[in-house]
């Protein structure tokens, strides 16, 4: 198996003869305190080494990354978008495992089931063939889980922390513990969070914005031989009584159980560098709830539970060969989605329907990637992904339900391919030029194919699926450069995506709405093309020692074939931060600004213009050494001017939290 595949790869790429060492992946030898992120091979220096960062939610970490903007429906479980691409256009995984949220209203993006305390790093790719595996049109996010480390300096190590925020009376409690021997290690980490209603700027309380959750991560590693590892990981995340003020319903619970077992072979002195195989299973159980809402908001009481289960495996290997660094992966997974709704009208029979009629999707994929070092200056990375996607309905009730909308077979089979080429050119010690060109494709999502009257609060329409959707494809190019010297680092990047068969909701006449008060019914359709372009600018500057200035800027502009602005596209956003870190102390001040977004198409996509804003945050911290342990105390004030503001992607334009004083304590041992 290995040899023919390798031979195939060698034939398919140009062949050169320069040996070079590979610095692709980072392995942290210490535990429990680092989350960093990588964008398409460009590693960002920002290490969240202070444990207070671990008390933040994953959402707060993500929204600091250039090009990432969050769709907000409440104070919990925000949904990441990459350069304005979201949902099925991007591919989100946890440690390479496929997971799919169980909520039909996108209340549970999978980023809500993983905590910074679980993670080693966040990998981010904007192009279909970036860091991510599996086909997509817009790249993706991988949340790499922290592993227990064998042979650590201390047999027992750990961390405990607690935080309090005045706004929403939010508390965070985290803990982590690791036991490490030379051949065996086990680690556990946990988070418990709770918050009441938050208060927006100028003292406005946002009702139904509370949340409660806990998260537990377990990792065990056993070395069969020094270069053969057996690993078991388990993650459980449960949220309860979560308010979604921008939606018509809240959530009574959102539970995820995520388990995997891996075998990792890392030979030394061979061309094969590593070979990792993993089997995994995850189950997500989600229930929407309207029982806490006042009667006038609930014309008919309803229950809307949903489940998602995914079973999969992957096997990936990496090789060195002279100046080539090769990667090949086989992946297979199967996901089942079930979502239903029971309505209880007064004085009439209860009504039951499937809103996502038992969709099963099975995917087989092969990824091939090569990184070729051409001399000291050029790096080329061709890549190819082929996915075979089967979609069908796995219950009779699901098929009967869809007979309401469709005739003929409901099964879908798609063969999807992505291909790309990344190039990097080191001009001199300071200047680097990088660019990429790729072709991406995705099959329509389960929701886009088979949705059965799913309500979208943003445009107030019920959505139905379209089983005849063609796959959405993109041709994507980006060009950037990096200037790096002792104190200054500047990295601008421009990008463009041209989509074909872009999938949008289009009004369907003659269909009556299912949701009381909805404006009409939309069906997913392919429009001939769409365009998305924009750029990012990342810069850091150290004017003096102990001083650090960072600026993160991004903008996206999207339009469909008729020139209408695409929905949920973030306007210009800028985060600027100054840090001063004398020994033991740390101080920072930052501003977050977003410009006005009036590039919207209210008539077509139901989106309204947004006002711009600027908010300011400040913080200070200090480390205390207590014996061999470290105590970190940190205080911050967010939105110090108590500004009323929202971001463009916030559903219903609900104001975000006003002034908030946060205190965090943590002890590392």
């Amino acid at each position: 198996m290995r040899i023919p595949l390798y031979a195939l790869l060698l034939c398919s790429v140009p062949f050169m003869v320069h040996a070079q060492s590979e610095t692709d992946s980072v392995h942290h030898s210490y535990t429990l305190s680092t989350v960093n992120y990588t964008i398409a091979g460009q590693r960002y220096q920002k290490n969240y080494t202070r444990s207070r960062e671990l008390q933040q939610s994953t959402d707060r970490l993500l929204e600091r990354i250039p090009g990432v903007t969050m769709i907000r429906r409440g104070n919990f479980a925000m949904e990441p978008t990459l350069r304005g691409l979201s949902a099925a256009q991007i591919n989100m995984t946890i440690d390479g495992m496929q997971l799919f949220g169980a909520c039909t209203d996108r209340m549970d993006p999978i980023s809500s089931y993983v905590e910074p305390n679980n993670m080693e790093r966040i990998q981010l790719g904007f192009s279909p063939n970036g860091e991510q595996h599996n086909a997509s049109v817009g790249g993706g996010l991988n949340f790499s889980l922290k592993q227990a480390q064998t042979g650590a300096a201390k047999v027992w190590s750990g961390l405990a922390g607690a935080g309090y925020e005045t706004n929403a009376s939010a508390t965070q409690t985290i803990a982590a513990l690791q036991y490490s021997r030379s051949r065996f290690a086990i680690s556990a980490n946990g988070v418990w969070r709770r918050a009441g209603n938050y208060t927006a700027g100028k003292g406005q309380e946002i009702n139904f914005s509370q949340y409660n959750k806990w998260n537990l991560g377990l990792s065990a590693v056993y070395l069969l031989k020094p270069n053969q590892q057996l690993r078991v990981d388990y993650l459980q995340d449960e949220g309860y009584n979560i308010g979604y003020p921008a939606l018509t319903m809240d959530v009574s619970f959102a539970k995820a159980k995520i388990g995997s077992a891996s075998y990792i072979y890392t030979p030394t002195g061979m061309k094969l560098k590593s070979w990792e195989s993993k089997v995994y299973y995850n189950y997500i159980d989600h229930a929407m709830d309207d029982t806490k809402r006042p009667a006038w908001q609930v014309p008919i009481h309803m229950d809307m539970p949903g489940t998602s289960q995914t079973m999969g495996l992957y096997s990936r290997a990496k090789w060195y060969y002279t100046n080539h660094f090769l990667e090949a992966q086989f992946t297979a997974y199967s996901n089942r989605l079930h979502a239903e709704m029971t309505m209880y009208p007064k004085n009439a029979a209860e009504m039951f329907m499937l809103t996502l009629p038992d969709v099963q999707r099975t995917v087989y994929g092969i990824d091939l990637k090569d990184k070729i070092y051409l001399g000291q200056d050029w790096t080329l990375s061709p890549s190819l992904t082929v996915n075979y996607v089967q979609s069908d309905i796995y219950t009779e009730l699901g098929k009967e339900t869809l007979s309401s909308l469709f005739t003929g077979s409901l099964d879908r089979k798609n063969l999807i391919w992505n291909a790309g080429l990344n190039a990097e050119k080191h001009i001199n010690g300071r200047w680097t030029l990088f660019g990429q060109l790729s072709r991406g494709a995705r099959s329509a999502s389960a929701q886009e194919l088979y949705a059965f009257y799913l309500f979208n609060r943003m445009d107030n329409f019920d959505y139905i699926g379209n089983k005849d959707l063609k796959q959405e494809t993109s041709v994507n190019a980006s060009l950037g450069m990096s200037y790096h010297q002792h104190r200054l680092h500047i990295q601008p990047q421009l990008f463009v995506y041209r989509f074909s068969n872009y999938i949008v909701g289009q009004r369907k006449q003659g269909y009556s709405t299912m949701t009381i008060g909805a404006s009409g019914v939309k069906q997913y359709v392919n429009i001939p093309d769409a365009l998305l372009y924009g750029g990012e600018l990342y810069a850091t500057y150290r004017p003096w020692d102990k001083w650090y200035i960072q600026s993160t800027n991004s903008i996206s502009i999207g339009q469909d074939n008729a020139g209408n602005a695409l929905p949920l596209i973030p306007p210009f956003k800028s985060i600027n931060r100054i840090e001063y870190t004398p020994s033991k102390y740390g101080f920072y001040a930052e501003s977050i600004s977003q410009s006005r977004q009036d590039r919207v198409s209210t008539a077509v996509y139901g989106e309204r213009a947004s006002a711009g804003f600027t908010i300011f945050n400040v913080g200070a911290g200090r480390n205390f050494a207590i014996g061999k342990n470290t105590l970190n105390v940190h205080a911050a004030v967010y939105n110090i001017l108590d500004k009323q503001y929202y971001e463009h992607l916030d559903i219903l334009k609900l104001y975000r939290p006003g002034r908030n004083l946060a205190l965090n304590l943590s002890l590392t041992f």
Binding site: G259, M353, L397, Y453
Partner: protein
């Protein structure tokens, strides 16, 4: 070692998968048993006559009826001349109901027909089914109950004729697209209820408790013998009302809304 690892992986995967899939069964409506129920029996000089229906109790509206004719040896007769006639005897008068004459069905060995009962059995008002076999008439008393939802609509049309629109109840409704069939009869006198063909029926389903309808319905069209066949789309379970606007061939609206109620 790799073999053991693979086995462990498979075992873990199987355990977790089965433990979570054996969970819920969907609340699907029970399917009524298709076995026929005996309603009564009577003897002529030559034959034993047994009357059957699809359910133990007859209901107002359209009911399929079956007659079994056996000779003295118990053998089922297929060549007898059999007819039925529903009759309600009230204290001062009697009347019939729309019905479909029986014919022999070789597959079941029964003579099958139908009756559209226009009212339920009451204290002094009893339904009976007159069955005539080779010129000999017997009467089998039957009890007719009121169906829980409105499956028959009797109303005066704009042409001053009373029309009877009745639903052919299927064994079970299902979510999604269903075949739907109605009969239309009119009242000419107390004993004559001829079937009416070639009307135009415009069907609009609605969920009264929510006020919404459903897409892709096919309004019933005349198939002869007073029958109209179409397709109805139930997007969910619950209460449904099928609004029927009935017009004649010239387009004159006879019945504005002869609605039928469904619950499943």
């Amino acid at each position: 070692m790799k073999k053991i690892f693979a086995l462990v992986c498979v075992a873990i995967a199987l355990c977790t998968y089965t433990s979570c899939t054996s969970k819920k069964n969907n609340p699907k409506p029970d399917i009524e048993t298709p076995a026929k129920s005996q309603l009564g029996t009577a003897n002529t000089t030559d034959h034993t006559i047994t009357l059957y229906a699809d359910t133990p109790l007859l209901f107002t509206g359209y009911n399929r009826l079956y007659v079994k004719v056996q000779d003295a040896t118990g053998a089922v007769s297929s060549t007898a001349n059999v007819s039925i006639h529903p009759l309600m005897e009230m204290s001062t008068m009697s009347h019939s109901a729309p019905y479909e004459q029986v014919s022999y069905d070789a597959a079941t060995g029964l003579y099958s027909g139908a009756a559209v009962f226009i009212m339920p059995t009451a204290d002094d008002d009893a339904w009976k089914m007159e069955v005539t076999v080779n010129g000999q008439k017997v009467a089998i008393p039957v009890t007719v109950g009121t169906f829980p939802t409105k499956v028959i609509s009797i109303s005066l049309g704009s042409d001053n004729t009373t029309y009877i629109v009745s639903l052919l109840r299927p064994a079970a409704w299902k979510v999604g697209m269903n075949d739907v069939e109605f009969t239309v009869h009119k009242i000419t006198d107390m004993m004559n209820f001829p079937a009416v063909d070639n009307l135009s029926l415009e069907m609009t389903p609605e969920m009264p408790s929510m006020g919404h309808g459903s897409p892709n319905n096919i309004s019933p069209v005349s198939t002869g013998n007073g029958h109209y066949k179409g397709k109805v789309n139930y997007t969910m379970t619950g209460d449904w009302r099928l609004h029927l606007k009935v017009s004649d061939a010239s387009g004159t609206v006879l019945l504005q809304d002869a609605f039928i109620d469904i619950l499943f």
